[in-house]
């Protein structure tokens, strides 16, 4: 993965999000050891202190836990924690941005909800086609 160094998002947050994505798509499994700050430093070409800060975000949210002398491990309920957290933080923020942009473009409530419905239908249909293949 490439880091977006111009993003408003700090690099350590991007590291934390990448690790979360790895947990969500089961590349990192529960109770498995997660990358060390030094492995992450090497993988992303960043200072180990930056990588450590990314790991600490996960530790603070109980997504990973420390085993003394062994490193950090993925918690048993990591997946649920991440999903809940994303619903509450990320999705809410996206909705708020969406509403703001709709206001600016003079799109009213009915139109906006209509657009969302259409999009949902569209992606369901695509999913179904995928399954048939």
């Amino acid at each position: 993965m490439n880091l977006n160094t111009n993003s408003l998002k700090p690099i350590y947050v991007q590291i934390a999000e990448w690790l979360e994505a790895e947990i969500l798509n089961a590349n990192l499994k529960e109770e498995e050891r997660i990358y060390s700050q030094y492995q992450l430093a090497d993988m992303f070409n960043i200072n180990p202190a930056t990588a450590a800060k990314g790991l600490n975000i996960l530790a603070d949210n109980n997504i990973v836990y420390k085993k003394r002398g062994l490193g950090m491990f993925v918690s048993t309920n990591a997946r649920n924690l991440i999903l809940e957290d994303r619903k509450n933080q990320v999705l809410k923020q996206m909705v708020s941005d969406l509403v703001l942009e709709a206001d600016r473009l003079e799109v009213d409530e009915k139109q906006l909800i209509g657009m969302i419905r259409q999009r949902i239908k569209h992606s369901r249909r695509n999913n179904n086609e995928c399954c048939k293949l």
Partner: protein, 299 residues
């Protein structure tokens, strides 16, 4: 433990003060970027730390000792810059051999692997190398000595961008395997900020900022929007400003807003961007807030 510690350090050449009342401590096993404009005093500071120069006043301590004329300090630090002189009669291979005699942590195998990766000819003399190849050879010496304190003064001068990237990666990988203290002076902060832990920014010989690079990245925020909305910011908070279009501005301010204030700004059509640490350092060390545009401003 701090590896380098300066207290009210000053150095003057005749009437010109290159370094003025600098005080700071550098912790062990960190990579610190020494950043500043041309003539800010970076090289003088590094030479004071390396013990090449004697302070005019104040003190510099390296491993708790005065570095000037000090064999213990000298054998534990290496200073790499593009004026390094090696005896003309020695081949690169012979220079590597003698580096091994001086420095106890010298990794000869590693040095020769790097030399061959960068396609340098060991039988050539240092004198005959191109500018970029000289710099490449010098940084190889700097990394392979594995000194507890390594000083790089503009190490990438003349290197092409592929070699620069390889050098930064080699430095980082070797640092992860053998943690030690580095000071890296550079103009190209955007190239090195990912591998740094701390940044020491100096302006006219004095300390402008000394903080973790992660804090530097969040130190300021760029706001782009109509002048009406942005005029509320008082000029003492503004680090940099540009106007463009008929009524729009871009300002850089210290990042000290509450979430509510950010929401308000967003709602009034202000877009927010992060400020690259490189740009921020340029703004913080600029003489005027409008930069070069002020020269062309006829009002």
């Amino acid at each position: 433990m701090s590896v380098v510690s300066c207290e009210n350090l000053s150095k003057a050449y005749n009437n010109f003060s290159a370094v003025k009342n600098l005080s700071f401590d550098l912790g062990e096993n960190k990579i610190t970027g020494l950043i500043g404009r041309n003539g800010a005093g970076k090289t003088t500071l590094l030479k004071l730390i390396a013990g090449f120069l004697r302070p005019t006043s104040g003190a510099v301590k390296v491993f708790s000792q005065n570095p000037f004329d000090n064999i213990t300090v000298s054998s534990n630090i290496i200073f790499i810059d593009d004026n390094m002189n090696f005896p003309v009669s020695l081949t690169l291979s012979e220079i590597l051999d003698s580096a091994g005699m001086f420095y106890k942590n010298w990794d000869d195998k590693f040095a020769r692997k790097l030399i061959s990766y960068f396609s340098l000819d060991l039988s050539q003399s240092h004198f005959g190398l191109s500018k970029g190849m000289k710099s490449t050879f010098n940084v190889i010496i700097g990394i392979a000595t594995r000194c507890p304190l390594t000083l790089f003064d503009e190490p990438t001068t003349g290197m092409d961008s592929a070699v620069r990237k390889d050098f930064y990666r080699a430095l980082l990988k070797d640092y992860v395997e053998h943690p030690r203290t580095f000071i890296l002076s550079s103009h190209l902060l955007n190239e090195i900020d990912d591998i740094l832990e701390d940044v020491l920014l100096i302006k006219d010989g004095t300390k402008a900022l000394h903080l973790p690079v992660l804090d530097l990245k969040e130190y300021a925020i760029g706001l782009r929007g109509s002048q009406d909305v942005l005029k509320d910011f008082s000029s003492k908070d503004i680090i940099h400003e540009e106007s463009f279009g008929s009524d729009s501005s871009y300002i850089v301010v210290k990042n000290q807003f509450s979430q509510t204030k950010l929401e308000q700004l967003k709602a009034s059509g202000v877009s927010m961007t992060s400020v690259a640490s490189d740009d921020l350092c340029n703004y913080l060390t600029a003489k005027t807030k409008g930069g070069i545009d002020d020269v062309f401003n006829r009002e």
